[in-house]
Amino acid sequence: MRFVSFRPASSVLATAALLLVAAAPSHAQTRAETLRYVTGASVNTLDPNIPGSTRESFALSMSTYDRLVAFGRKQLNGKWVFDLDKITGELAESYDVSPDGLKLTFRLRKDAKFQDGSPVTAEDVKWSLDRCVTAPILGKAQLLTGSLTSADQFKVIDPLTIEVTLPKPDKLALPNLATVYPLIINSKVAKEHATPEDPWATAWLKEHTAGSGAYVIESFKPGEQVIIKRNEDWNRGSPDKPAFFKRVIVQSVPEPATRANLVERGDADLVVDLQASDVQSLEAKGKLKVISTPQYNSITFVSMNNQIPPFDNVNVRRAVAFALPYEDMFKAALFGRGAPLFGATWPDGKPLNGIYPFQAPVKTDLDKAREYLKAAGLPEGFSTTFSFNVGQASTAEPMAALVKESLAKIGIKVDIQKLPDAQMSTQINEKKLPLFTEGIVAWLPSTDYFYRNFYTGNQRWNYSSINNPELAAIAQEARFEPDKAKYEEDGRKLNAIHFSEMPQIPLWQPNQDAVMASSIEGYTYEFHRQVDYRDVSRK
C-alpha cells in the first residue's frame, strides 16, 4: 500500500483529526459520500502514458490530474455525452486561437494549485507538454495526430501564459490537449525523482502522482483496487466547489455476474461493464438507473483482409456483406443494445452525409450474395476462418456461430477461431487473419481521423489492409480543410468509396450501459469510455 502525501506531518495531523471526526457520524453517512465503482478491468499505472496502461488507468488519471482544457458535455437523445466541439478551460482560465489558426495561447488560472500546495505555473505546463512529445510514452503518438510533435512548439510567455505554435492550422490540436495523455505534472516534484536514464521520471510517476486533480490517491493496489479521496482545493468543475464524492473506491471484480449482483444489492454504486443480458434484466426490474449511450466514437465490424485471396476480390467482400445475418447477430450478441450500422436506405445510392461511422445500405440478402459470389468466379464458395479474441467472447461467440451458419448457405465454409487476446493482436499486426471481428474507437471522432487511421497505410490499425490511393488522398486533404462544406463533401466521397469497396463491414456501435444506484446523478459518456468520477454526484 502506498500513500501519496507531500506533507507527512500535516497529513498525520489531518488523519488524526479525521479519525476524531469520523467517530461521530454514522456509517451510513460516510457511505453516502463514497462512490463505490466496480469494474472487470483494473488500474495498472498512475500515469496513463506508460505503455500497456489500461482504460481504467486512463479514467483514474482524469481525476488525479488536470489538463489545460477539457471537453464540454451535451445532451444526445436525453443523455449526457462529451462534446468534442465545446472545449472549456480546465487549468487554463481562457484560451485564444490566432486568426490564422497557428497559435494557441493559454492563460492559466491564478488560483490553481498542485496537490502539494504549490501554484501551477507555465513552466510546469511546458515541462509536462515537452514530456508528452519527447519521452518514449503513449502521449507522443496521440499528440502527433494534432500536429504537436516537438518541445519547440511550447513557449512560456509569462508565469501564467503559455503559447503553442502549430506548423499548420490543425483542427485536432486543441482537442488533443483535452485527451488523457497531456496531463499537467508538478515539474518540481517530478524533477526530484528524475534520473539520468529516466529524465522524465516515468518510473516514479507510474506509482506516484504529482498533479493538481480533483482527487488524491489514498491507496493503490494494482489489479485489486484504488481508493482516492477528494482534493478540497480543487474547483475546476463548478466555480467554487470541489468534486462531489469525498471518497471513490475503484474496485476490480472480474466476474460480470458478481458485478451485477453487487450493484443490484446496492453494495456498489456504479458499473459500466456488465453483460448485455444482465443489463436487460436489471433494467426490467426497474430498481436501478440504467443509462445506455451508443458509443458513438466506436464501431464493431467484421473485417476482411483485402490483400489475401479470395477477399482481394471486391465481389467476394460484397457477397459476405450481403450474407451476414445482421438482425440475428445484433440480437444474439448485444440483445439489441446499441446503434445498428446496417439496414440503411440510400435513396439515390449515395451516402446521406459525410459523417463516419455511417449506417450502410446492407441487409441480409442471400440471393444478392450468391450473385456477387458468381461474379467473383466462386459460385461454389470457398473455405475460410473467422477469428475473434477471448476477451470479446461474450458477444463474439454467439455472433461467430451465426456468421458460420449464414455463410454456409452461400457455400462459404467457416472455421471459427477463438484466439487469446495477445495472439489475436499479433496476428492482426502481421496481417494474417482473413476474416475476423474487432472493435475500434477514436477519442477524437472526426471523419478524416477515422479514415486516416483505420483505412490507410500498411499499419496495424488498417485492419482490412485496404490500399486505395484515392481514399488516402481525400482523407489527407480533409484533415486540413478549413471549409465546412468542402469537408462534408470529402466525407461523402470517403463514405461512398467505403461502401463500394467494402473493405470491412461495420456492424454496430454497442451501448455503453451504465448501471447505477437510483441516487447517482450526472453520469456522462466520456471519450475514454470510462466513468469520469468528477461528473457524478449523489442526490
Partner: protein, 345 residues
C-alpha cells in the same frame, strides 16, 4: 533416540530438497521456452493504446528484453532469477516477486481452509460409507460426491453467491478477502484470519472469515469426492484385513478398532491424495478466484497468460513447482508420523 530420529528426518528432507533442484531448473527453462513458443507477441498486445504504432511496439519489446535472441534472453533471465529478481509484470506494472508475495497468502489461506473443510467432511463420510458398504448411507455418500464433482466450481460458487449473498443477504459481498470499508490489520503473516487475531481485532477476524467461507466451501465441494472415495476404499481394505479381525475378536471397543487400528492404517493413501489435491487446488482454483474476486495467484497467472505477459507466468510456474516440492516433502513427513515403518529417503 527420538532426537536422532528427528535429526535423520531433517537430514533426509534436506537431501530430498537438494535432489529436487534439477527438476526445478528444468521447469524454469521449459516454461521460459514454452512462453516464447506461444504464438502471442506481448509487445503488440500491450502497445494497444489508440495510437500505438510500430515505434511503441519496439519500445515495449526493448523494455521486456524481447529484442535480444532467445538464448541471450535465457541467460539474462537465469541470472536475474539467481539474484532473486523474477522480472516485472506488464499487466500490473509491479515486480512479479512483489505481486506473488502479496497474492500467495490469499491463495494459501483459501486453499488451506478449503482443504480443511474437505478433509473434515470427506474422512467421516468415507469411514461411514466403508462401515456399511452397499447400504443407503453408502449410496447417499456416493450421490453427494458425484454431485460435488460434476458441478464445476464456478457454478457452485455462483449458486452459493446467489443464495447466501443475493437472496438471503447472509454473506458479505463476494469481492475479495475483506470488505472495502474495513481497515486492514498490520501485515504479519499475510493470512488475514491470523493477522486479525494477532492484532486482537475480533470483529475484523470475523469479517475476514465471512469473506472466506463461501469461496472455501465451493472449492471444498469439488475435492470432497476424491478424498471421500479414497478414504472409503482404503478403509474397506483395512477393515477386511487380519489385524482388524484379530482386534475385533479380542473384544476391543468399536471405537478403538475403527479409529485406532483401521483408520490409522487407511489414512496413508488419503494423505497422499490430500497432498496432490492441495497442490492442484492452489493452481487450479482460477474460477473460484475469479468468481469471488479473490486476489490470488491463479487468477493472476491466467490474466498474464491471456496477455502473454511472460514474467508473471514464469514466476507463477516456478512458485507452483517449488510448492509442489514442499508439499511432497510434507506428505512424506506425514507418512512417517502416520506410519513409523515408513522412512523418507
Amino acid at each position: 533416540m527420538v532426537m536422532t530420529g528427528l535429526g535423520a528426518t531433517v537430514a533426509r528432507a534436506g537431501r530430498r530438497l537438494l535432489s529436487s533442484l534439477p527438476a526445478l531448473f528444468g521447469v524454469l527453462v521449459f516454461t521460459f521456452l514454452l512462453m516464447r513458443v506461444l504464438p502471442g507477441d506481448p509487445a503488440v498486445f500491450f502497445a494497444s493504446g489508440p495510437n500505438a504504432g510500430k515505434e511503441e511496439i519496439e519500445q515495449i519489446r526493448k523494455q521486456m528484453g524481447l529484442d535480444k535472441s532467445v538464448p541471450e534472453q535465457l541467460v539474462f533471465y537465469l541470472s536475474d532469477i539467481g539474484r532473486g529478481n523474477l522480472g516485472r509484470s506488464m499487466m500490473t506494472g509491479q515486480p512479479v516477486l512483489k505481486d506473488l508475495r502479496e497474492r500467495l497468502p490469499a491463495s494459501l489461506e483459501l486453499t488451506f481452509t478449503a482443504l480443511l473443510i474437505a478433509l473434515l467432511a470427506a474422512v467421516p463420510l468415507g469411514v461411514v460409507a466403508a462401515l456399511k458398504p452397499g447400504s443407503l448411507v453408502d449410496h447417499g455418500v456416493r450421490l453427494f460426491c458425484a454431485l460435488g464433482v460434476c458441478v464445476p466450481t464456478f457454478v457452485s460458487g455462483l449458486l452459493l453467491i446467489y443464495v447466501f449473498y443475493y437472496l438471503l443477504g447472509l454473506a458479505p459481498d463476494p469481492t475479495g478477502r475483506i470488505d472495502v470499508f474495513t481497515s486492514l490489520p498490520p501485515q504479519r503473516t499475510g493470512f488475514l484470519s491470523v493477522d486479525f487475531l494477532l492484532a486482537g481485532d475480533i470483529e475484523g477476524w470475523w469479517a475476514a472469515c465471512k469473506q472466506l467461507i463461501l469461496p472455501a466451501l465451493s472449492m471444498a465441494l469439488f475435492v470432497i469426492a476424491p478424498l471421500a472415495r479414497i478414504t472409503r476404499a482404503s478403509m474397506l481394505v483395512s477393515l477386511g484385513s487380519d489385524f482388524v479381525r484379530t482386534a475385533r475378536s479380542v473384544g476391543l471397543s468399536w471405537q478403538k478398532v475403527v479409529v485406532t487400528y483401521a483408520l490409522r492404517n487407511a489414512i496413508l493413501p488419503v494423505i497422499t491424495i490430500a497432498g496432490i489435491v492441495f497442490s492442484t487446488m492452489l493452481g487450479a482454483n482460477v474460477l473460484v478466484e475469479k468468481v469471488f474476486s479473490w486476489p490470488g495467484v491463479a487468477s493472476y497467472a491466467l490474466d498474464a497468460l491471456l496477455s502473454s505477459d511472460y514474467a508473471p507466468v514464469q514466476g507463477f510456474v516456478l512458485l507452483m513447482a517449488g510448492i509442489f516440492v514442499l508439499v511432497n516433502l510434507a506428505v512424506d513427513i506425514c507418512y512417517g508420523i502416520a506410519d513409523p515403518r515408513v522412512s523418507i529417503g
